[in-house]
Amino acid sequence: MSTAIDSTATSTPVVAEGPESGRARAKRGDTATGWAFAAPFAVLFVLFLVVPALYGLYLSFTGETLTGSGGELLGLANYTEALRDPDMWRSLGNTVWFTVLSTIPLVALSLAFALLVNLGLPGRWLWRLSFFLPYLLASTVVVMFWSWMYNPKLGLINGVLAELGVAPVAWLQDPNVAMISVVVTTLWWTIGFNFLLYLAALQTIPEQQFEAAAIDGAGKWRQLFSIVIPQLAPTTALIVTLQILASLKVFDQIYMLTNGGPAGSTRSIVQYIYESGFTGYRFGYSSAISYLFFAIIVLVSIAQYKLINRRSAS
């Protein structure tokens, strides 16, 4: 009871005990408690993120292989080799190209879908379900569905084209088409996430703004461009950021749909890292490419951060 009385005066009763020694003891107590709370996370964080990140950096300077042989320090040899490796550049180019091709429709179409669904037409739950459902599928399932859709002889797409009298397309085997096919599959699979974020953001636009605009005589399209899209700008910035970073890390669907082919035309940088490490058994070289790619991700993140901050400042 007495403790109840003297600590109503302050919100941190332990610190309020008085003399210097008491304060120090309280602080030490807080440090112990704080670390006890943070420890379970911190242990996993250090063991499975900090340690592999540093170990990977070390490996990138060695000739380490799967068997553990050749672990001697090589200096920057892996890095200079990577920078002269045409396959590395090709994979990097594919990754950037995939990011451009996928980000644009994944942002623009998800906004269009969200705006349409948000009109309040009948059957809303069904529209939402249709666009979001693929996001819940594992990459393997997505790839099985789409390999079947793209099947050159038996697939639905070429089947429909045949009915229309159009010649069949080698969706995954033609180097000029394969990347587009991968992007279409990715669009189908992942648009639901961006769509949900836009839909949630649309609800937060105050209704009064539309009423005011309507009184001013602004039509639906005017409202869209003068109210809705500007109000969504922070959401768009977030979605573009998340999407670019997600697209840069593409691996699953490309690896399983085309295995990076035909002739390396769809191989992504993560697949090249995977192959250098786990089929080429060159752990050191693979780690060096990982770090080169990480440098790019950091640069992209910094650029986006600056762009977003500049926009919100002005």
Partner: protein, 293 residues
Amino acid sequence: MSTYTLSRGIKQGHKPGENPWSVSRMVALLVLAFLAATWLVPFGWAVLTSLKTEADAGASKITLNPPGGFSFDAYRKVLSAGDIPAWAWNSLVTSVAITLITVATSALAGYAFSRIAFRGRRWLYAAIIAAIIIPPQLLIVPLFRQMLAFDLVDTYWGIILPQAFAPAMVLILKRFFDQIPVELEDAARVDGANRLRVFWSIVLPLSRPILAAVAIFVFIGAWNNFLWPFIVTTDADLMTLPVGLQTVKSAYGLQYAQNMASAILAALPLVVVFLFFQRQIIKGIATTGFGGQ
């Protein structure tokens, strides 16, 4: 007026003064129906194929009305082969463990960062925020070496541990705890409750929605994750559903009906869960999606 809320009913869909059957609304409805139908085609075609006989599934002319009729033969064959239920079990065990560990450790750490002035808090927090930028895909080689050293290759723990923490979730939970008034905790602390008691009996009950959101987000990610389980398991008995399916999808060869039946079976658990908890899942993903910036 609730015209722009996610949960609004169909009846209040249009604004009062507006003609619900105007031409422009009909056009929008047609566009929407066309897009939704397009989005459902790969599902529908997979279901249709899985219900055909192998002979009809492999016929080169597309048909909605196969001469061999429809049956569940492909499902029966796939299930009797035995691997899919085992892989689904592996996925369930590992995803549940990953979710529980991630939510528990992130909530504890998030609370510490939000409320406790402990020494080293600043640099630990800075390190965690900086780590959000590191893509797990880039750590596969050193992590695999570590798993070899720990003797965790081809074990549940080998699949679970590297996925069982998420820096972004600590951030999301810390931000949520920041908004809970400290006064609620002070009263209990005054009565002599220690930090853990306060956390357990006051903070956690107030945080149920955000904890559910984080759990849903983490679970879906873990259930569907491919690359790490693919790297750390070679034993077919320990594979998760996405990894196991990948190993057999080529083994089915020309058996397209069975191939599609196994894909549908793998998709089913999460789709069914979604149909039951649609609102919570959508809310959870939107919340974590926005919090993860």
